[in-house]
Symmetry: C2
Subunit: 234 residues, 2 copies
DNA sequence: TGTACATCAGTGAACGCGCGTTCACTGATGTAC
DNA sequence: TGTACATCAGTGAACGCGCGTTCACTGATGTAC
């Protein structure tokens, strides 16, 4: 891989060191992800990671500024893993209603496969740690952008009399990614529909409904998607 | 209070000790709640509680079996605080649709006032700790019982063509509290509507929508309640 | 009412653990001439 | 191509911290006669 880069001449030649450094950074992140998945964010420990890598605990500080900085990287990695999954799942899907459903299904599948990562980004915040928005924002909004795009492009056929939604324009702000031409009721119902999807995934992954309530989550979730879409788009 | 009990003759007389013990138990729980609110469940520490009470760390073990047992008590206390709030708010409200809305509003108000308690019971699970269901179940289902009761008694006018909900009866189990005479589509839509409410509260309290998206959460939440009720009950 | 004994609350020291982070250091890898 | 110097990776010891939990103990509160 090193020689390949040199042969093809891409960028400054990496050298043995740069290659090792890149591999080490990847391994730290990978081990961190495994520990996260097993023990949760609060228990994430640089010493434990060093131990597993067979290296002195101080060596990790060559690659990572601090525990909190590693947490930040793990958050970004989680957002990106989910974002990549959504990108892949959306490929070739044109109909915006179907795109909404695909985003929901992908979120659910990813959350089930990586519950601790899901908790890290969409669950309760890690106490004593606040992710630096300027580093996480870009990865964190990938899913949201797809979602708002789909909402904007689907037909707006509210599933209820919108006059009953007593919402004024200044209820919502103007974040960078919010499409300006999304009519107000569609925005309200879109957020509501998405909260329904998120709430369902959360209920399943965190087992909020207690035992013996929902037996077939797959079927229930498909019904939730139908209801969510009916709300926004008829 | 002590003398009162003796005079009225309720049960075995408490004595100075019993009174002190009861007060101590209350204080430990209260300090625990404050620490929980400030630092989160993962940081809950018996030593810190003892320190604040001005007592040797070992003394706490007279009243609490272990850290995990205290966590269990705090979970039950949180469920009960929310349950009490819901009970109080529901008093005098007859219309089941309004009762559904009141439950939602109370949940939101309580979650905003006690975000860490909310996270403890409805957020990501505490790693390395599983609440013993036999102790938490009763308090944990108080809200659910009110909810299912309201769902059962409200008119069932689905907000969409129920034929599109391809849900079979065996999608759901038969937990003790699930009313048997709740028709299948109403159950599906009820859970979906409730997920929407929960998802909205979670989004607000955990700030999942990013900055500058929803400015007036109060107004947005009222719209969510309207949408939720429209889904189940027209 | 008074005394002997049992129960309980709280102490303080200790065990053993893991953590984040720093620091002076050795040895290997790169770079400039 | 060879040499002198700068950079980097990794070591191991240390600092200071907080934690849960146990244990033998003192002194106060209750109970039975």
């Amino acid at each position: 891989m090193l020689s390949l880069c040199q042969t093809v001449g891409m960028g400054p030649k990496p050298g043995v060191r740069a290659a090792h450094r890149a591999r080490m950074e990847r391994e730290i992140l990978a081990v961190g992800e495994r520990h996260l998945a097993r023990d949760g964010a609060a228990a994430l420990s640089l010493r434990a990671i060093a131990r597993e890598l067979g290296v002195a605990s101080s060596a990790v500080y060559r690659y990572v500024e601090s525990r909190d900085e590693l947490l930040t990287r793990l958050i970004i990695a989680a957002y990106d893993a989910l974002g990549d999954a959504v990108d892949a799942a959306l490929a070739g899907v044109e109909d915006p209603r179907e795109r909404f459903a695909v985003i929901g299904r992908t979120l659910r599948a990813w959350a089930r496969a990586h519950p601790e990562q899901f908790a890290l980004v969409y669950g309760s915040p890690v106490p004593g740690y606040a992710a630096p928005a300027e580093r996480t924002n870009e990865a964190g909004t990938r899913l949201t952008r797809h979602l708002l795009d789909a909402l904007q492009r689907m037909p707006h056929v509210p599933g209820l009399d919108v006059a009953r939604l007593d919402v004024r324009p200044d209820t919502y702000g103007e974040p960078a990614d919010l499409p300006a031409d999304l009519p107000l009721p569609a925005l309200t119902l879109g957020l509501a529909a998405w909260s329904m999807v998120m709430g369902s995934v959360t209920a399943e992954v965190f087992e909020q409904f207690g035992p013996q309530t929902v037996m077939d989550w797959e079927a229930h979730f498909e019904a939730v998607l139908v209801a969510a879409l009916a709300l926004v788009s008829g």
